[in-house]
Symmetry: C2
């Protein structure tokens, strides 16, 4: 299943970030079944408070396609994108968000967005990664 | 008045961006009365859909202070920061947002934020700049 493969790419990238002492989040962007970008959170490394995995992946995808219009692109995120990242997805015209674990899995209220969302996608793996990093 | 001087720096930067065919928005970040960063929107130039003036200024300020914690910093924005930028301000612990024109000046509903806001600061100049760019 292609969707699972892409989420695993995001998970692997998050693990790469964890190994570099970064926040435990990964994301990748796909268009027409083709991987455009993959990134982990680099906020602490850069340092840049805006450098969430999703933001990094969006910025890279813009460069790859040489546009700020990511229509027909889908984003896979190991954790539900925060309000900043969701707004970036909306402004980029990203068509769908797949995410693993989310605020609802750790007792926080979910955020609203107009983008189609596939939640709990490989949730357990995404959540486990977060739990380990938080220990 | 120091606040006015800083807003004028943001306005001048926005105008610099307009001259380069960028969206008509500027922002600067100040800490303890000292200018840390100033930026205009560079979304079209980069291209990077996340490169709003506020985001660029936040990213630069993180680099200048070598931290993702912008506590005690204030941001001056020629237009009210969008939801993405507001969330970035909140995550960065920015203490106050000064803005010129806002959605309320062009008939759109305002957004909520937990950060202290000084609205309509040099509004007319900020709004005029937007109007000219939109013509």
């Amino acid at each position: 299943m292609a969707e699972e493969r892409f989420m695993r790419i995001a998970i692997d990238k998050a693990k790469e970030g964890i190994a570099k002492d970064q926040e435990p989040f990964g994301a990748c962007i796909v268009k027409d079944g083709k991987l455009l970008s993959v990134a982990h959170n680099t906020a602490r490394a850069d340092p840049d408070v805006t450098a969430h995995a999703e933001m990094n992946a969006i910025r890279m995808a813009c460069k790859v396609l040489n546009t700020i219009d990511l229509s027909r692109c889908e984003i896979y995120a190991t954790f539900k994108p925060c309000r900043m990242c969701q707004e970036a997805c909306e402004r980029a015209n990203i068509s769908k968000i797949y995410y693993g674990a989310g605020p609802e899995d750790i007792g926080s209220p979910p955020l609203e967005t107009s983008i189609q969302i596939e939640a709990g996608f490989l949730r357990d793996e995404c959540l486990e990664m977060l739990r380990r990093a938080r220990q």
